[in-house]
């Protein structure tokens, strides 16, 4: 049953996933080219001085990319389920409502991870070429809240889209915006160091919110 639901989500989303994958890899690839360009036209020590010491986050243009990808995937995955109340097909299957919804979310999270990780690997790879390990770990730790923000955005999008009433969708939209802003308060490397674990735990707890929306959908709220 787990495989079947994963199969369904894969068939539904595979072309979109491919598009998102290509967009993210292309974007990160573009960033790598820019980084290479900067090191070719400037002295390395000047770049290090500006970027390492003064805290210029050269990949700040990536900041909201994971969030956008999470929102887009969440919409692509769950809007079709709400059209003509197709979610009823899943809720009618012989497995628990929470389990069914959870498997959908796991599928989405896996696909999202599969979009993020190659891009992250590209950035990590090119950074390893130009910067020492200390700085790479700073880069990755600085990127992590944005990545968590992407997963959070996906879960909050599912939460909002699956909610059957428009009034609460608006409330959840505001709630999501308020919560997601907390992932993007960084202005220097490692600002989130002391709260990273809490942030990761909070992100994982967001998993239950779409289950609540699914439950409300199944109960016929908004009908």
């Amino acid at each position: 049953m787990f495989k079947s639901l994963l199969y369904k989500e894969w068939i539904k989303l595979r072309l979109y996933w491919l598009l998102l994958f290509v967009v993210n890899v292309a974007f990160c690839g573009f960033l790598c080219l820019r980084l290479r360009h900067v090191f070719r036209v400037n002295e390395a020590v000047a770049v290090w001085s500006n970027w390492i010491f003064k805290g210029y986050l050269f990949y700040r243009i990536c900041e909201y990319v994971p969030l956008l990808l999470g929102v887009v995937l969440g919409c692509l995955q769950f809007f079709p389920e709400t059209l003509s109340k197709r979610l009823r097909l899943v809720l009618h299957l012989p497995l628990g409502e929470s389990r069914a919804a959870s498997i959908h979310l796991v599928a989405g999270l896996l696909m999202l991870a599969a979009v993020y990780l190659p891009g992250l690997a590209l950035i990590a790879g090119i950074s390893a070429f130009y910067f020492p390990p200390d700085f790479q770990s700073n880069l990755l730790l600085t990127y992590t809240p944005w990545l968590l923000g992407g997963f959070a955005a996906y879960l909050l999008t599912a939460f909002t889209v699956l909610e059957p009433t428009w009034r609460l969708r608006v409330v959840y939209l505001l709630f999501s915006a308020a919560l997601l802003r907390l992932f993007f308060m960084e202005d220097f490397y490692n600002s989130y160091l002391r709260v990273m674990l809490s942030l990761a735990i909070c992100t994982s707890l967001l998993f239950v919110f779409p289950l609540l929306s699914t439950h409300r959908f199944g109960k016929g709220y908004g009908s």
Partner: protein, 296 residues
Amino acid sequence: MNPVIECRNLVHYFGAKPALKDVSWKVQPGRVCGLLGRNGAGKTTTINILNSFLTPTSGQCLLLGEDAHRLSPAVKARIGYLIEGHIQYGFFNVHQLERFYAPFYERWDPTIYFHLMSKLDISPKQHVATMSCGQRSQVALGLVLAQNPDLIIFDDYSMGLDPGYRRLFVEVIRDYAADGKRTILLTSHIIQDLEHLIEDCIIYQRGKVLIDMEAKRLIADFRKYSFDTKGDFKDFSDDSRNLRVERGEKRSAIYGFLKPEEARAELGKLGVPAGNNFQQENISLEDMFIALTGKY
């Protein structure tokens, strides 16, 4: 014998508007039951409650002995449900659909599904979203039947279907139910299709059960008597006695569970002069339905 479907004192309000007013009925095992009613009578509300997509304001539904809102996965596997509009996943083709659903059902038998698919003029990789309404209906039907369920609920199976597909549906359902081992509940607006299909008939009127009886008995006992129109009188209806009188320009009629003399007596009570040519007419199930529920 325990009923397969049981609704007990269902009451539901949408805001302040009542949709169901203390509805109770049962469907026994092996029966094909038609749930009929005009738009807004409460059929879809009842179906949604049965499928736990709606929580009633009060009352309870049981399916195969379990509370419909707390069905175990084992019982869910024994219930097939065809959603209104034959909703299915448009991004699948027929093979992918079968591959998706099969692992959920222990009794899955794809024979009838692929048999129905072979009759459709579709290519193997064609997505459901690109099929016609009729083709989609066959896909949805095939998937439900392949589950080998003990109970099937068809929510307005005829929606959007041309006569050919509607006929196909009726024939498949009839063949499927022939062994008496399956229980079927169906709703539809095309009453003439159901006349030779359903064994039990439940008719809703304004959120209440108007009729709950065997279809045979309804057809045998509910009669129409027509007569020449004489004098001026208004149309009359009494839901509690399933009685209706309609005035026509030339011919008028009285409907009800009435023998001829009872019909004349009712007309007399109502002060309606029974004109010449008082005779019983054969009427279809659709005529009975309209007579019972009205045209407006």
